[in-house]
């Protein structure tokens, strides 16, 4: 009897191992139509909407789609491991941090021929920065633009009311933001911070100050930086002033700026449009409102010129695995996501703004009760594409840490520290680019 039980257990174990091995639907074999596609994304906020759009595609194609979320850090570890010899998902997101490395190594499915044959995809309709990002230097296309995002100022009306400070307006300069933050921090004796920004809030934070004042974190040819220039230093000097009335570094390093904001400990943060949903569904969302990012009155005429207000924009791309068994279906899914219909659905459902121009108006209406028009208005001013080079993570991480901007963040009273940090940053970026 015992033997039979033992045998039974052994068989069960073997069977479960085999089942685990055979679990991946898409890969292996070639030319056959897949019955299901695996899609990997990193943003849980978008999972529901993306799955709904994918289900629409399933209705016509008959191929099931499983959308799986892997958080940002693990996403890249897993994808790289998959690319190095494991199994990759069939269709997945690409990002400006890493896409060049993936394109150069032919990890991604070449979409050029499919796009050429497909009359429904017109590459000129997409945002140029996003389109260029996913096109290799030899003109081959490896991902279609999924979306674009912009940055705005998020503030807590209840805190502004409590301390009798006027709400942010579209005429605000960064100095106005400083005054308001100062009034709140001082009015509350430091129990509530006027604003909060961590060194890691780059695209959604201090990069925008650098550009407003005329500096460039990465130059347009992606081969250099002007972060050590006087213009960039002026921007970072403004940043330093804001930090003197904002949450200290020790606080934001332990509790993220988003959590500080949602727990009513800080009155203002800057955030990207990809985060709207998490604030829209937050407990006290009635108190939250968005405003245009402040501008820098560089020429001193008191009005905002187009080139005085800058918002970063970035766009994800839909890419597929180069070794996928059923490239036709993968392309078809990507093309649907990036078609006018898919892009409009994406905006309507409040997932994100589109990668295609002129499809995002519905996005503003996707959040009844919360006015998110500043994200769309930001496009009337200047946009810069999120700074990237071939291996962005290397310098991006270094800039956040000690030896670069963590030092002035730690001690914002010292103006020289910020200027030194800008010089250090110049060197960090130049060295990193030289090593790429």
């Amino acid at each position: 009897m015992k033997k039979i039980v033992a045998l039974f257990i052994a068989i069960l174990m073997v069977a479960s191992v085999l089942a685990a091995c055979g679990g991946n639907g898409g890969s292996g074999g070639s030319g056959e139509k897949a019955s299901a596609l695996t899609v990997n994304i990193w943003d849980a906020n978008q999972q529901k909407g993306i799955q709904e759009i994918a289900d629409k595609w399933t209705e016509t194609s008959g191929v099931k789609v499983n959308v799986e979320v892997v958080d940002w850090d693990n996403y890249w570890t897993l994808l790289e491991a998959g690319a190095s010899g494991g199994t990759m998902p069939d269709v997945f997101w690409m990002h400006s941090n890493t896409v060049q490395m993936y394109m150069e190594n032919d990890i991604l499915l070449d979409l050029t021929d499919y796009v050429d044959k497909d009359s429904s995809i017109d590459m000129s309709k997409y945002y140029e920065g996003v389109k260029d990002l996913y096109t290799r230097s030899d003109g081959k296309i490896f991902a279609l633009p999924k979306d674009h995002d912009t940055i705005a100022l998020l503030y807590n009306k209840a805190i502004f009311d409590e301390y009798g400070v006027d709400y942010p307006t579209s005429d605000w300069t960064w100095d106005d933001m400083y005054e308001a933050a100062k009034a709140i921090t001082e009015g509350s004796d430091g129990s509530i911070y006027g604003m909060a920004m961590n060194t890691s809030n780059n695209q959604d934070g201090w990069y925008n100050l650098v550009y407003s004042y005329g500096g460039k974190v990465i130059t347009d040819d992606h081969k250099g930086t002007t972060i050590g220039s006087d213009e960039a230093k002026a921007g970072m000097e403004m940043m330093r002033k804001l930090l003197t009335v904002g949450a200290p570094q020790s606080v934001v390093a332990e509790t993220g700026t988003d959590s500080l904001f949602q727990s009513g400990k800080t009155a203002m943060i800057t955030q990207g449009s990809w985060m709207i949903n998490s604030f829209y569904t937050a407990e006290f969302h009635d108190d939250y409102a968005w405003a245009l990012l402040p501008y820098a009155d560089v020429n001193g005429n008191g009005t905002c010129e187009k080139e005085e207000r800058w918002s970063a924009y970035n766009g994800l791309g839909w890419a597929a695995n180069a070794n996928v068994s059923d490239p036709e279906s993968c392309y078809s899914l990507i093309a649907y996501f990036c078609s006018e219909e898919g892009q409009k659905l994406q905006a309507e459902k409040g997932v994100t703004m589109g990668g295609m121009t002129g499809v995002s108006d519905a996005f503003a209406d996707a959040f009844p009760g919360m006015d998110i028009s500043p994200f769309l208005e930001a496009e009337d001013y200047s946009l810069y594409f999120r700074p990237y080079t071939r291996n962005t993570t290397v310098w991006e991480d270094a800039l956040q840490q000690a030896g670069a901007f963590l030092d002035p963040w730690q001690n914002p009273e010292d103006a020289d520290l910020m200027a030194t940090a800008c010089d250090n940053a110049q060197k960090i970026i130049e060295d990193a680019i030289a090593n790429e």
């Binding site: 790289e80 990890i107 060194t199 020790s250 390093a253 332990e254 509790t255 500080l260 291996n391 993570t393």
Partner: protein, 300 residues
């Protein structure tokens, strides 16, 4: 010559037995080769290379990576951080566990309940443990500061962050050490204690003159495995410390540094070199410990 005769003597049945034996250990051997030996050799090879993306295009560069590692203050600083962590975790983890084990080895009511409670941290996933402690330590909303009415930056003050991390390590490891100690204690014959009692030895004298020497093989085993464990610590720092935390520099362990280079920055070759550096260091420590074993451990 003797070997040869032995070989000849092997019968058919013995041969068949050997084949079967090989079959039975094959899963383990294959597992070891695929999951341990191959990665070890590959890591060693990568440490001599400038690695390309996605494991392609590695170029041999000799000892260049090693030169960089030895010249890097960051690596030495991380090694020192790791040693500091070990200096907290190993002594405190061992002493506290030993005291608890002695108490819980007595025939008291509820010992099994207490044993379970102390062992619980060992059952929890390290990542979950780290997350809970991270919130306990939080300066703004943390339980510690709230209960004591203090405003200490437990994990972002570079002066104390390494101690805070060490405390989590001690807490996590006590249960495991304790169970090993209890099993060691149960192997000490009760006669010794009876004889000592008749001679009039107090409980404390008994502890230092009977328990400690007779337990020394177990203690040595625990110390040695815990030193190796502490030197390869990674998850605590990774989960508790944010990248923008100023104290990170003073707490990041050497495995954390390896992770950062190999996986975040994608510089596999340099990462591999850091790990080989750590392996060599652990080998030296283990060698010294093995040499000291004869002197430190009491063999009756």
């Amino acid at each position: 010559m003797k070997q040869k005769t032995l070989r000849k003597k092997r019968t058919k049945a013995q041969k068949r037995e050997m084949i079967w034996a090989l079959c039975f250990i094959a899963p383990t051997i294959i597992g070891l080769i695929v999951l341990n030996f191959y990665p070890v050799i590959n890591t060693l090879w990568q440490s001599f290379c400038k690695t390309g993306d996605f494991g392609k295009g590695n170029t041999f560069i000799g000892f260049e990576n090693y030169g960089k590692v030895f010249a890097s203050s960051e690596v030495w600083h991380s090694l020192w951080n790791t040693i500091k962590y070990a200096l907290i975790e190993v002594p405190f983890g061992v002493v506290i566990a030993l005291i608890l084990a002695v108490f819980l080895n007595k025939k008291l009511k509820g010992t099994s309940l207490f044993r379970t409670i102390f062992f619980l941290p060992m059952v929890c996933a390290p990542a979950a443990v780290a997350m809970v402690w991270k919130w306990l330590y939080n300066q703004q909303f943390g339980l510690l500061n709230n209960v004591f009415g203090t405003n200490v930056a437990w994990i972002s003050d570079p002066k104390i962050a390494w101690i805070s991390i060490g405390i989590i390590g001690v807490w996590s490891v006590i249960g495991y050490n304790m169970v090993l100690f209890i099993s060691g204690l149960q192997e000490i014959p009760g006669d010794y204690y009876e004889a000592a009692e008749i001679d009039g030895a107090t409980g404390i004298r008994q502890f230092f003159h009977i328990t400690v020497p007779l337990l020394s093989p177990t203690t040595f085993f625990i110390v040695q495995t815990r030193i190796i464990g502490a030197l390869t610590i990674f998850d605590l720092m990774f989960m508790v410390m944010d990248k923008t935390n100023l104290a990170l520099q003073n707490t990041q362990s050497i495995v954390y540094l390896f992770y950062d280079y190999a996986f975040t920055q994608g510089n596999k070759g340099y990462g591999a070199t850091i790990v080989i550096f750590l392996v060599i260091f652990i080998m030296i420590v283990t060698f010294i410990l093995q040499r000291a074993e004869k002197k430190l451990v009491y063999h009756p």
